[in-house]
Subunit: 372 residues, 2 copies
């Protein structure tokens, strides 16, 4: 979305964040119309400029999350550069940073120091573990937080090792919470310090697994592709490949077993509580039928009667789908192909061509002149 | 946060959503001070009231995502009840629904019909695949979308099957995008129809895996616990158990190999590009050292020099940690233990005791009187 055309047009964001969680949050703000000025260190800038994959020598990683932002290179240990940074920070509506707790304050850019000068500033810190608690100083990247949050502990089969979800869910969930927290704080109209922890964000995703532990004190362990509260809600083997099938209430379960030609199972497993308790046995009953035909056959049958089900796709099938194309989920930024924005709002455009991520210090002269 | 005390105090949300993605979004709004009126069907209400785990006969699943909301039971096929629903919808600031596309319109509650009566209404639809595209009518639950989004295709080991992340990431990411989209739209001040798809949300999380496919046209497959762009950034075996270690730039890599007593590796693997290309060989080199001592030993060593690293925790260790306690990441809602809110804002309270989720139609009389 071109700057100025989204719901956040007119907003100025001072972005001191690097790599992923912070830049992902400010990408959402920029996509929705905010002006985002990204402050980078002069010697190479954001680390993610060196992360692949590369197209024509340009990092797609950097291009994706920094599209539509301005870049200024500032040495925050140099007084003149620091003055520019402080001017930018105090004139901004929003500041985002993801240094370890204490670093911004040591640079003269902490919340407590800026707040008297910019009483309405929404100052969003994103860190691994937050600004309070015994782990606050602990350095963190996505995989460290995934490991400590329990999300790896609940991913994988019961008889296998913990598995890391193949996407950076700690960074991205923290970025998404930050996005909503920043816009909520702006609506509230009070200056505030938002303290978003990747750890909190990831723990909050545990859902059924966390509830199971809170209810019983027993660790839920790993249950493969099954669901902690609902059955059948899992992957199932057909003659050729696996599919997902989700019958999350009694009506859908009745439709499912009728479509599979085993309506007697509706009476044997009448409620979700019964089905979930007996889910291994139920899975075997259902697979005994499903294995007699191909995945394609059963997906047609289940689709015709409205039972939620689907194939298990690879990235090429998923990102390359007609659905993703129609939904504008692959766009270009400066000519490079990158994922689109899931926020589709009828009152605003969702352009397929977006502005490029900046070269290091591309907007340096203008930003220095404006914030001096 | 008691209704009225957060940044969204004064906001009225008409909530026609069920189960998870929609209720998770409106939970965020309620936690931050909005008044959320949940419309449920009279015969049993939200399906998730029947989902475990249960404490004293009450569903923790329901209690967690519906805390602090009001409930009114309305039969939307009854003209008098529909009139209440329409009055609520047109007087609300925000409407959230997660029916399949077309269902709300058939009930007389579609965006196009309400918009002339409520020109500033932010109307947020959350669905499996969105309101456009060939899959728009396809029924979906979390696991179906996870399977089709590619996220299972990139989770697990290269020689094993696709694995579903053990948390409902399709529902929750859609809920988080909806949260930020709604608050952004409110800032924009224009009535708008937000069309949030669980599919779009989950595809947008693929990050490195999607970028790899976009850059090369080759499906990235599964790479276990490694990272698509950075190395070393993985799990590693010590003498007793695995740990995560992330050295995402050259400086950290130098510190890491010095701490492990193999500084010669810094010259052999000087850049991230070299390290990522040779990540299997590099992992073997690092594990040859790590396997000589326990995880506890190495975490102490790496912590002392600031290399991001950590244990792989189960849910009990993660949710029961001192860090989670200090961060208020377990709260009570109506006396039941549920996960807290990751949005920590200095200008507002983050209470450890939150209002209960409602009984079905608990607020029915008041809501009917108010919106008649």
């Amino acid at each position: 979305m071109p700057s100025g055309s989204g719901p956040l047009a007119g907003l100025l964001v001072a972005d001191f964040s690097r790599v992923l969680a912070g830049p992902f949050a400010t990408m959402m703000l920029a996509d929705l119309g905010a002006r985002v000025v990204k402050v980078e260190r002069p010697d190479g800038g954001d680390d993610s400029r060196t992360y692949g994959p590369f197209v024509d020598g340009r990092s797609l990683y950097f291009a994706r999350v920094n599209r539509g932002k301005e870049s200024v290179a500032l040495d925050l240990k140099d007084p003149a550069d620091l003055a520019v940074a402080r001017s930018l920070a105090t004139r901004a509506d929003v500041l985002v940073e993801n240094y370890r707790p204490g670093v911004m304050a040591r640079l003269g850019l902490g919340w407590a120091g800026l707040q008297p000068l910019a009483p309405e500033l929404v100052y969003c810190s994103i860190s691994g573990f937050g600004h309070t608690g015994p782990w606050r100083e602990r350095p963190a990247y996505d995989a460290v937080v995934q490991g400590m949050s329990g999300i790896m502990g609940v991913t994988g089969s019961p008889d296998g090792p913990p598995v890391k979800p193949g996407v950076p869910v700690a960074d991205l969930s923290a970025g998404l919470y930050a996005f909503g927290a920043i816009t909520s704080a702006l609506l509230g109209g009070k200056g505030t310090h938002l303290d978003i922890a990747m750890y909190d964000a990831t723990v909050s995703l545990l859902e059924g697994a966390a509830l199971s532990w809170l209810a019983t004190g027993q660790d839920p362990g790993r249950i493969g592709n099954a669901h902690f509260a609902i059955a059948p809600f899992d992957t199932f083997s057909c003659a050729d490949r696996d599919i997902t099938v989700c019958a999350a209430n009694d009506v859908l379960f009745g439709v499912l077993v009728t479509a599979l030609g085993v309506p007697r199972l509706a009476a044997r497993y009448p409620t979700n509580a019964v089905r979930h308790e007996a889910r291994a046995e139920l899975k075997a009953e259902l697979e005994a039928v499903l294995r007699t035909q191909t995945a394609g056959h059963w997906l047609d049958v289940l689709s015709a009667v409205g039972v939620p089900s689907g194939p298990i796709s690879d990235v090429a099938e998923a990102v390359g789908s007609e659905q993703a194309r129609v939904r504008n989920m692959v766009v270009t930024a400066g000519g490079l192909p990158v994922p689109g924005n899931p926020v589709k709002a009828s009152a605003y455009e969702d352009p397929a061509v977006r502005p490029a991520a900046p070269e290091l210090d591309e907007h340096g002269a203008g930003v220095r002149a404006e914030f001096s």
